[in-house]
């Protein structure tokens, strides 16, 4: 094994560009690991952690590009580093660089701007967001790694100035039909939604569209907004605005668990909402909350869709439960398993999906391990090692530091799917696929070979790997929903248009598996 690196002074590139270069270099034969990073202190530490260090790296700064390669031989390292300019040129080809390099220059060009979309490294993001707020702009803050102190400061500043800060770590918003960040193409309508769970917002808005209904606005808050440090500043502002919005007839709130104080405050606020309100507090016990108030509670995103649709149309949508055909299908799948196959492995791109699936499995009585668990006792001892039933949030920082997020690029999930298929006890692979603006242009295509190879491996062992998939998206999304569905079906996957239903199908598969009850 050999390694090497180059440092390019004063060559700054954004994170998505760097991911593109990383992917291109990593595709070379004999390459074991690549890192394409700007020279921030955090990134230099990351390189040190994989054994890459040297005087040029020590002296590199945040504006300097570092490319490191670990490969089978020194010749491969040299050859791949020699192709760096070609990789940079290829990815830059056809893209005209902007002449604007600062927020101030942007403001000079667009003095009446009302929204700053910020997706720069977290260590600088709060500073730019504050400048945007001071200039009177609302902020969509996609950047992560912004401190809770900075978040509070930004949100208090926004509150004082009647502005909105969506984020940090905000993946999605739909304002007046315009998608910002990762967003699906959905029609406009009377349902307003606030989400502290990015892929939860995408799932909800897509399902509303697929049910023939529409969204007035979907406002992302960033997941920390509902912590007790922030106390839902953006959530409450968004709620006030949706209450005042004449197009919005019903208001839905979706989140993973909230801070205890914030939860109580928000429930009280929703109970007194001037419009019908629906709360989907994933992972939070809610049973007695919705009696005799304006608030209805949903246990899953699908239930929230059902409740919202009923408010708007007066009639219920088809039930969430599995159909008799699906139940029969589950029985057929189970019949193909070998006696040792008994465990589920979920390899998720969307954090909310990983969470919702854990909730559904837990409610069905299955113990599930995760790198992003409900309860600390269910945390995997190491994120790279699955145990019994395991659901993985592959968007977690542990996997994505310096690497493309699985919503943008499937490489991380390909590796994990193949790893899971080596475990003789694995029976089910649960996957999510997320369509929409800024997501991978072919999320299924990227994973297809890995799915086929995994199924082939299990077949060779005399078993059968059941692949259960959910697709979050609409027919109007750029990735072609029907084609993505077809590709999955051709690979032998069982495909659902909802993560909750895909997980219910897994519960059905896990009921009374061959050889008795396992994992309960």
């Amino acid at each position: 094994m050999a390694s090497g690196y180059v440092v390019r002074k004063q060559q700054y590139y954004d994170s998505i560009f760097l991911m593109g270069v990383n992917k291109r270099l990593s595709e070379n034969r004999g390459v074991l690991q690549t890192a394409v990073l700007m020279g921030s202190e955090k990134n230099k530490q990351l390189l040190a952690d994989i054994g890459i260090h040297g005087p040029q790296i020590d002296s590199a700064g945040p504006n300097d590009l570092i490319v490191a390669i670990i490969a089978d031989t020194p010749q491969i390292v040299e050859a791949v580093l020699g192709k760096l300019d070609e990789a940079l040129d290829r990815i830059q080809a056809g893209s005209i660089p902007s002449v604007l390099h600062t927020l101030e220059e942007g403001l000079a060009q667009k003095p009446n701007a009302n929204l700053a979309v910020i997706s720069i490294p977290g260590e600088y993001a709060a500073h730019e967001a504050r400048k945007a707020l001071e200039a009177g702009l609302n902020v969509f803050l996609f950047s992560s790694n912004v401190s809770i102190e900075d978040e509070l400061d930004l949100k208090q500043c926004a509150l004082q100035n009647n502005l909105l800060v969506m984020g940090p770590d905000c993946g999605t918003s739909l304002l007046g039909g315009i998608g910002i960040g990762f967003a699906n193409i959905v029609r406009r309508g009377p349902i307003g939604v606030i989400g502290a769970a990015g892929t939860g917002l995408q799932e909800f808005t897509s399902q509303i569209h697929n049910a023939g209904l529409g969204i007035s606005h979907a406002i992302g808050t960033g997941s920390h907004d509902v912590s007790d440090e922030i106390e839902g500043i953006t959530t409450f502002t968004a709620l006030e605005r949706l209450e005042a919005d004449s197009q919005t007839k019903v208001i839905v709130f979706i989140s993973k668990p909230l801070g205890a104080k914030t939860f109580t405050k928000l429930v009280e606020r929703l109970q007194g909402c001037r419009k019908p309100a629906i709360g989907c507090f994933l992972g939070q016990p809610v049973e007695p909350l919705d009696r005799n108030t304006n608030l209805q509670c949903a246990r899953t995103i699908d239930e929230a869709v059902q409740l919202a649709a009923k408010h708007v149309t007066g009639s219920p949508l088809p039930p969430i439960q599995l159909t008799s055909e699906e139940l029969e299908w589950a029985a057929r799948e189970k019949a193909g398993w070998s006696p040792e196959q008994k465990y589920l492995r979920g390899v998720f791109a969307g954090g909310t999906f990983c969470y919702q699936s854990q909730q559904i499995l837990r409610d069905a009585g299955f113990a599930v391990h995760s790198n992003a668990p409900f309860a600390p006792q269910n945390r995997l001892s190491h994120p790279d090692q699955s145990l019994e039933h395991t659901l993985l949030d592959m968007g977690d920082d542990y996997y994505t530091l310096g690497k493309p997020h699985p919503m943008i690029n499937g490489t991380l999930r390909v590796q994990r799917i193949l790893t899971e298929s080596l475990d003789h006890q694995v029976a089910i692979l649960l996957l999510d696929f997320i369509l929409g603006y800024n997501a991978s242009t072919d999320p299924v295509g990227e994973l297809l070979d890995a799915i086929l190879e995994a199924r082939q491996r299990v077949r060779k062992r005399g078993g059968s790997l059941t692949v259960v998939a959910s697709i979050c998206g609409t027919e109007d999304d750029p990735q072609d929903l029907n084609l993505q569905t077809q590709l999955l079906k051709e690979a032998g996957a069982i495909v659902f248009r909802s993560n909750a239903r895909a997980t219910l199908f897994c519960c059905e598969l896990l009921k009374h598996p061959l050889g008795g009850a396992h994992g309960k």
Partner: protein, 57 residues
Amino acid sequence: MENNIIPLLDEAILAINLGPKQFYESLEKQGVEAVQVDWTPSAGGDKDMIKLLDELL
């Protein structure tokens, strides 16, 4: 507030995108008036220096 203009929700979005161009391009595809800023850290990325420059300017 019912009949008043609700900030951001009732207004056309005019956006400044700081960071990867993909977000700008998706806004443009939706007909949003936007500008792209190919942001780079100022003052060589030195955060103390950035603060100092801000105070001076």
